[in-house]
């Protein structure tokens, strides 16, 4: 402000400004957006940014999170819906003092390099961190557009970096300028102009946005406090001085940059040069050619036919033949053969006799798993002759969605399978999927409470008003009940912010077993980082993100019951000379169903819980499909949807199943007119509410995963109105929707239920005929299941098994079976020797 200083800014004369407001603003693209996937920094969801950018009329929006691409898929999904132009990039934050650089790939190859760059940084750091230096960027900079964000106020500090980068990327370098209402903005513009002149690098306007709308300032302040482990009162200058870091309209940006209009014009040009879109990441299946076959499809047909001959030695039933041909044709059409071969290969590895290890028991489930092809490939044991499953759900030609096969393995051997996959595909081509850990009611109120400096007691009491996994903040009635005043300004603010914070991502974790495999380098598709567990790597996207982009994922899951069944089979083989194979177990024995109807099900897979045991005598399962229903009905979904009692009444013949229209009978006849499975909910939406299949699929996903309250509401209106126009009564439509809404989180697809029901049958069969084997196998697989060892022991004793105490001469590490010498007449020796290991059962004896 000194008189002689050239930086003095004279008040613009009114004449200069007269035209500005009337002219239509120059197009503007915001390129510095920090979403809440820059954990505890960004104050809005990626989708909120995209929506807001669309509403403000920006030409494009660039999502650039801190050393991460974690949020881009969600932004992409929203942008696709709104047809908003999205540019994908990352904000590179360096650990060597280099100022932040926004990096945007121009094409697929450059995107791959960005992923590689981030992977390098991730692998160097502990889980959740990324350590980058400028040299890393220089190595991978080809094809990346770079915006250097110089530090304020001393922008000249960026000079050496600009020189270095200009040498390698002369036409791909920009200088980011922001107007931040800091008081020195005009000087800042001038300093940038000097740098621009000195280095001949164009300036580009950025908003350096942290939240989509100014109202989010409070939440962003709180996030800062959570990140810095401090309170609002102590945070001081770590908080922003004002609420200006929100998305602004092109007109507003043009006004702020009226002294540097070229910086605004540059944004649109910049966005145009970023031609890369996530849809180019069309997934490439790993190369699954097999020796002796020209194409994967040929190999698949061969394996399937070979398996079919084994499954049906006396020839395929016509129904199965037709289904198999149909499925193979669909698979060929959609080119999914490699995927099935991948699963086939994993299963074959598990079943194979390794030199030093026994085969691993496994079973597939998931929609695609319960197909005839999978049955023939040996992935599943659900006989398509027994259950009529909707193959179309996963493989409809119009939705090019990847098939979904989950494979359960013995829980003690799953690591072997995981390491096999790493070995077979290589660490650059296989990795675990991520799980985004989000704020829930309790964690939100806890962190917010700390930021507000509430006492531990208060926070504990507030959190105590919530259910464990509740996704709501405490409501005022509850708050009053614990003796706090919900109208107190500070408390009200805390509760409001807690509500906003819910569903905010907190950090990334590894998915329980979802494997992503690619043909090319996986780290050119997604940045990979270290998992907390040794020898594991994780990608940055979760299963919904992968699904959105159509990336293949095989779930390699662990199931304790499979370990138990394998151990039981071994004992059956050793002590009773029975074949150690699941397919050797006779199907549909009435004795088994009688046992289950008595609720004699301790230790049996899935149906051993108390809720299931009270359901069994009422449902009285008589055949395999009843077991499928039994598994599916005692779930929070159907229970909350109020389907249990109507179903039981109809089953017991008290009520008659009624179908308002014959089209519904087609969908619901197997379950007596009550929707119990996810597929049925979708079918109802298609048949009765006239949803298109892809809309129905979106409905399923909005119920299941993304849980956006807003979207489910729009679906609700569409669903009910659709049914009403289609001639249903409004009451019925509302009830219908309420019912299927319950599926959201906790409904079972029919195919999953069928796979589980199979395990129910197998475990019941062993328990029914060989309670000694069953008890010993269960005890040897602990910890698993619902009951403590003592209860399993007592149950075995009630079934006539003699339990012998630990004996230093006879006991082994595991529980063993022994001859029951004093009953010479019996062919079956019902006695088990307790192991050294089973301390709990020892106490019970």
């Amino acid at each position: 402000m000194t008189e002689d200083s050239s930086t003095v800014v004279a008040l613009p004369s009114p004449k200069n400004r007269s035209g500005e407001d009337t002219a239509s603003p120059a197009p503007y693209a915001e390129l510095a957006v920090t979403t809440n996937f820059s954990f505890l920094r960004g104050g809005s969801h990626p989708s909120e940014f995209v929506k807001q950018a669309h509403a403000l009329g920006l030409t494009a929006i660039g999502v650039a999170d801190r050393n991460s691409l974690a949020g881009v898929v969600r932004a992409y999904a929203q942008a696709k819906e709104l047809e908003m132009r999205l540019v994908v990039g990352s904000r590179l934050v360096f650990s060597d003092g280099t100022p932040d650089i926004l990096a945007y790939p121009t094409d697929r190859a450059a995107y791959g390099r960005l992923c590689r760059l981030l992977t390098v940084g991730n692998k160097r750091a502990e889980k959740g961190d990324c350590i980058l230096v400028l040299d890393d960027l220089i190595e991978f900079a080809e094809g990346l557009l770079l915006i250097v964000v110089p530090p304020r106020p001393n922008v000249a500090l960026a000079s050496p970096i600009l020189k270095r980068l200009r040498a390698i990327a002369p036409d791909r370098l920009w200088l980011g300028v922001s107007v931040a209402y800091r008081g020195d903005d005009l000087r800042h513009l001038k300093r940038i102009a000097e740098l621009v002149h000195e280095h001949r690098i164009p300036p580009i306007a950025i908003g350096d946005v942290l939240y989509h709308a100014p109202e989010r300032r409070a939440l962003q302040d709180v996030l800062t406090c959570i990140r810095e482990h401090t309170t609002l009162d102590a945070a001081g200058f770590r908080l922003e001085a004002n609420a200006e870091r929100h998305l602004k309209s092109p007109a507003e940006m043009a006004r702020l940059f009226r002294r540097m209009p070229e910086a605004i014009e540059e944004t649109a040009r910049f966005a145009d040069r970023c031609r890369f879109s996530l849809k180019e990441l069309r997934y490439e299946y790993p190369n699954e050619t097999r020796e002796g076959f020209a194409t994967p499809q040929e190999a698949l047909v061969f394996y399937a036919e070979e398996g079919a001959r084994k499954r049906y030695p006396e020839g395929l039933p016509p129904k199965v033949r037709n289904a198999l041909d149909h499925e193979l044709k669909l698979i060929a059409e959609l080119n999914y053969a490699p995927y099935f071969l991948t699963v086939h290969d994993i299963v074959r590895f598990a079943r194979s006799d390794l030199p030093d290890k026994k085969p691993i028991l496994c079973q597939g489930r998931g929609s695609a798993a319960n197909s005839v092809v999978c049955y023939c490939l040996g992935v599943t044991e659900v006989d398509p002759n027994q259950v009529d499953l909707l193959f179309e759900r996963f493989l409809s030609a119009e939705r090019r969605e990847p098939p979904d096969i989950d494979v359960d393995f013995e829980h003690e051997r799953r690591e072997d399978v995981i390491q096999y996959i790493y070995k077979r595909y290589g660490r650059e081509r296989a990795s675990l999927a991520a799980t985004v850990i989000c704020y829930r009611g309790r964690s939100a109120i806890r962190d917010i409470g700390k930021a507000f400096g509430l006492s531990e007691d208060t926070i504990g009491a507030l959190a105590g008003t919530l259910w464990g996994w509740s996704t709501d903040a405490p409501i005022s009635d509850e708050v009053k009940r614990i003796g706090l005043d919900p109208t107190d300004k500070r408390l009200a603010q805390a509760l409001l912010l807690a509500q906003q914070l819910i569903e905010f991502p907190r950090h990334l974790s590894q998915h329980v077993g979802g494997f992503v495999m690619t043909r090319g380098r996986l780290d050119e598709v997604i940045p990979i980082s270290n998992a907390a567990m040794e020898d594991r790597t994780v990608v940055e996207w979760d299963k919904d993100d992968l699904n959105e982009l159509g990336i293949l994922k095989v779930d390699v899951l662990a199931l304790g019951m499979l370990s138990c069944i394998r151990k039981a089979l071994e004992m059956l083989n050793k002590h009773y000379g029975l074949l150690a194979d699941l397919s050797a177990i006779p199907k549909e024995e009435p004795e088994i169903y009688r046992m289950l109807s008595r609720a004699d099900s301790i230790g049996v897979f899935q149906v051993e819980s108390r809720a299931q045991m009270s359901m069994l005598p009422r449902l009285k399962p008589e055949n395999f499909y009843d077991l499928v229903i039994e598994v599916a009905i005692v779930r929070p979904g159907p229970i909350q949807g109020g389907m249990v009692h109507p179903y039981l009444r109809r089953r017991q013949g008290i009520d008659k199943p009624d179908y308002p229209k014959p089209e519904l009978k087609e969908v619901l006849k197997n379950t007596l007119g009550i929707p119990l499975f996810q597929e049925q909910a979708m079918r109802i939406a298609i048949v009765a509410a006239k949803f298109t299949p892809s809309e129905a699929d979106r409905l399923r996903r909005s119920m299941a995963t993304f849980r956006h309250l807003g979207t489910i509401k729009t679906f609700e209106d569409k669903f009910i109105n659709g049914m009403v126009t289609n001639g249903y009564e409004r009451d019925f439509a509302v009830r219908c929707f309420e019912q299927i809404k319950g599926f959201g989180d906790y409904g079972f697809p029919e195919s999953h239920a069928a796979s589980f029901a199979l395990l129910v049958y197998f475990s019941s069969w062993i328990k029914c005929h060989y309670p000694d084997v069953f008890a010993a196998a269960l005890l040897n697989s602990q910890p698993m299941g619902f009951y403590a060892p003592a209860q399993i022991v007592r149950d075995a004793q009630e079934h006539g098994v003699e339990m012998r105490a630990v004996d230093t001469n006879h006991s082994d590490w595991d529980n063993t079976l022994e001859q029951f010498s004093s009953w010479p007449g019996l062919t079956r020796p019902p006695s088990a020797r307790t192991s050294v290991r089973a301390e709990d059962s020892q106490r019970a004896l």
């Binding site: 402000m1 209402y181 300093r191 001085a241 200006e244 507000f452």
Partner: protein, 480 residues
């Protein structure tokens, strides 16, 4: 009672509760089951500690060397003091009697070692143990009298060792190996083989003078007179050794056991009686709470808590004193006169809100250590904040460009200022989490220079078009 591992347990009992058979450490539930009518209070460790400290201070009437012996005792070194009270036994009885009249139950023992006195006071006969009789009187005491942990004592009892006599003649090495070196150390301390000093609660002043009154004094004037008398006494003694007082303390022992201390500090070593008395007179007259003599003070003690060579003061005059020293002296002197809490200084606060960026803190208090976060730096040649910030911003009439331009001219106190230069806006939003009534509007600050070269810090309150209809303008400070 107190919470021990999430269970409420009794921690201390009165005599009546003890006679009912309750014991410390007993779960409250059990005690309630036995005697539902018992009255329990939560243990207040701080209050206990404070009380014990107060009693210890009171005990300094007997000897300046008093030590705290948590949780329930104190230790006095009466070497060379007993004759003033008519011998050791007389002193002991005087002490217990005075404590009893104050409502305490006290057991006092005098012995040649700290350990022995501790043991006798708690487990033996509270009496004076002659040095020669120390060994034989200690032997029959239980091992707990050796200040051992309860579990150590239990361990010893389990092997049949109950009394000190049981271990006195045993070989030492196996005992140490089995029960730890602490056993032998305590043993040696009790028998006087090892020296054990008392940790005094208050530092021993280098000079002390005191006067006891048979008839307690109640008048402030007579207290001051006594102080003058004592000060003269001290001054003579300090002169002998070339010392001067930097800090003095007068300790007034009230008949009922309350102890009042008043301190004065000088900025240079001082032994002029009248000057010292003047300080105390100022100190007395500046007392915020009345000096309550109650039934009178029976002992007045004046001690020099810090003494320095007076020659050192000469040096100070020659050498160039550093500024901070000068300020510290000033704070001292002002502090004596007005009370240290009234001498304030400014401390920066981490907040964006200008009027809260500085607060007053007592000057004696240490400034908070390095700031948690740095204030945002502005790119400017001059100061970003005005030299003079008005306590209350003054409203002005201004005409400005919308939405966020600086004013072209403004009228403040009826004078019209034409603006020639402006810088800004610096947008500062209020701290939304504070419950400040009405202080919610965002401000845009401008640094302004008018055509006469005056520089102002102006702000517009409220964002145009969002928060308020007609924005109001204020001048918040002056740069020059």
């Amino acid at each position: 009672m107190r919470e021990v591992k999430s269970a409420l347990r009794l921690s201390a009992l009165n005599a009546r509760a003890e006679s009912l058979g309750l014991k410390p450490g007993m779960p409250l539930a059990d005690a309630r089951a036995m005697y539902p009518q018992i009255k329990v209070e939560h243990t207040d460790d701080t209050a206990d500690q404070n009380l014990l400290e107060a009693i210890t201070d009171w005990c300094s009437r007997y000897t300046p060397l008093t030590g705290l012996n948590a949780p329930d005792g104190m230790m006095l070194d009466i070497t060379g003091c007993a004759h003033l009270f008519g011998g050791e036994e007389a002193m002991r009885q005087d002490m217990t009697r005075r404590l009893r009249t104050q409502g305490f139950t006290a057991r006092a023992a005098i012995a040649g070692t700290v350990g022995a006195a501790w043991g006798f006071a708690r487990y033996g006969k509270p009496t004076v143990v002659a040095v020669a009789a120390l060994r034989e009187t200690l032997l029959p005491l239980p091992l707990a009298a050796l200040r051992l942990d309860a579990d150590k004592v239990d361990a010893l009892i389990r092997v049949g060792l109950k009394k000190i006599a049981d271990i006195v003649d045993r070989p030492r090495a196996p005992l140490a190996a089995r029960f730890g070196a602490i056993l032998l150390r305590r043993f040696d301390q009790a028998f006087g083989v090892l020296e054990e000093p008392i940790t005094p609660r208050l530092p021993l002043p280098p000079y002390i003078a005191e006067r006891c009154f048979a008839e307690p004094v109640t008048q402030e004037a007579s207290v001051l007179q006594t102080i003058e008398h004592l000060a003269g006494d001290l001054a003579r003694r300090m002169e002998e050794r070339g010392d001067g007082a930097r800090a003095l303390q007068v300790t007034l022992y009230r008949v009922d056991g309350a102890v009042r201390r008043l301190s004065v500090a000088t900025s240079k070593p001082q032994r002029d009686t009248r000057a010292l008395c003047r300080l105390f007179r100022e100190r007395f007259s500046s007392l915020t709470d009345e000096l309550d003599p109650g039934y009178g003070f029976d002992v007045v003690r004046l001690s020099v808590t810090t003494a320095e060579k007076t020659e050192a003061a000469q040096k100070d005059i020659v050498s160039s004193a550093t500024g901070s020293d000068d300020i510290a002296h000033l704070i001292d002197r002002l502090g004596v006169r007005f009370g240290t809490r009234r001498v304030m200084r400014f401390a920066p606060q981490e907040t964006h809100i200008p009027e809260f960026a500085v607060i007053n803190v007592p000057a004696r208090e240490n400034l908070p250590t390095a700031a948690q976060s740095e204030s945002p730096q502005q790119d400017t040649d001059g100061p970003a904040r005005p030299l003079r910030l008005f306590e209350k911003p003054e409203e002005i009439d201004a005409i400005a460009e919308v939405p966020d331009g600086p004013p072209a001219q403004f009228r403040w106190r009826r004078v019209l200022h034409e603006i020639t230069h402006a810088e800004g806006p610096e947008r500062i939003a209020m701290e939304w989490w504070r419950d400040d009534k009405g202080r919610t509007l965002t401000r845009d600050y401008f640094r302004i220079e008018d055509n006469h070269g005056h520089r102002f810090w102006l702000y517009r309150e409220g964002l145009f078009g969002h928060e308020t209809k007609p924005p109001r303008w204020f001048v918040h400070g002056l740069f020059a």
